[in-house]
Symmetry: C2
């Protein structure tokens, strides 16, 4: 069912410093910061040859990663995202097998403009898993 690893998302306490570190110290291809007000984050994409790293920084008071950074002030890996062909079929299969889908269970439009769902970390070895329909 799951396909490519679409991205690894890392919450960072200083987006400018983290982006500069990936560009300079690690020599990666780093994009410009993008505000995603609907998702409460500012994102910088790191393009690797086979996948992406997304650096996440809180945007606005209700940012979903604000609490994460309070618990992890140095930052940390926030979630991993797997691609699926059919997000509703994926959701139904997961629910049948007892996995919990976060929120209403209906896909939202994610930061890449595609339908996404998040799965409960407690059901997936402590990892927050995002599914994105591609």
């Amino acid at each position: 069912m799951i396909g490519r690893l679409n991205h690894v998302a890392i919450a960072v306490p200083d987006l400018k410093a983290a982006a500069e570190q990936y560009a300079t110290t690690l020599g990666a291809k780093v994009g410009a910061p993008q505000d995603e007000p609907d998702h409460g984050v500012t994102v910088v994409f790191i393009e690797l040859p086979n996948t992406k790293i997304e650096l996440l920084y809180p945007l606005g008071e209700d940012s979903p990663i604000k609490g994460f950074l309070e618990k992890n002030p140095a930052g940390g890996i926030h979630h991993i995202c797997y691609e699926v062909d059919d997000i509703l079929a994926a959701r139904d299969r997961l629910k049948e097998q007892g996995a919990r889908v976060l929120g209403t269970g209906e896909p939202k439009i994610g930061a890449h403009g595609k339908p996404v769902l998040f799965l409960h970390p407690k059901d997936f070895n402590g990892c927050l898993v995002e599914l994105e329909q591609v």
Copy 2:
């Protein structure tokens, strides 16, 4: 400098259950468990089309992930691994820029039989970063 994302490593409290979940619930291609006594882990590789997930379970009393699972009993993302062409050149560049290399600073032979180094999570947004020479 960094190339492909070689793998994302997830420490899991129950290797059999986690491998089965990736095979059945998530429908991924899952390998057989491999003991890596030199690294204190048993590993199951999940092969995605563009990268790998490594499920890690402690092997032996001195396993480097035992403490991680004590702190994170449900499991969690343990590290991410970037590929580099020349690990000594990468190390020297990182050290010049103030990043800390864990251990002696000399590459070890990793679980894939290739030279690896780990970088200090505090220097990389709370992420443990492995570099592997490919």
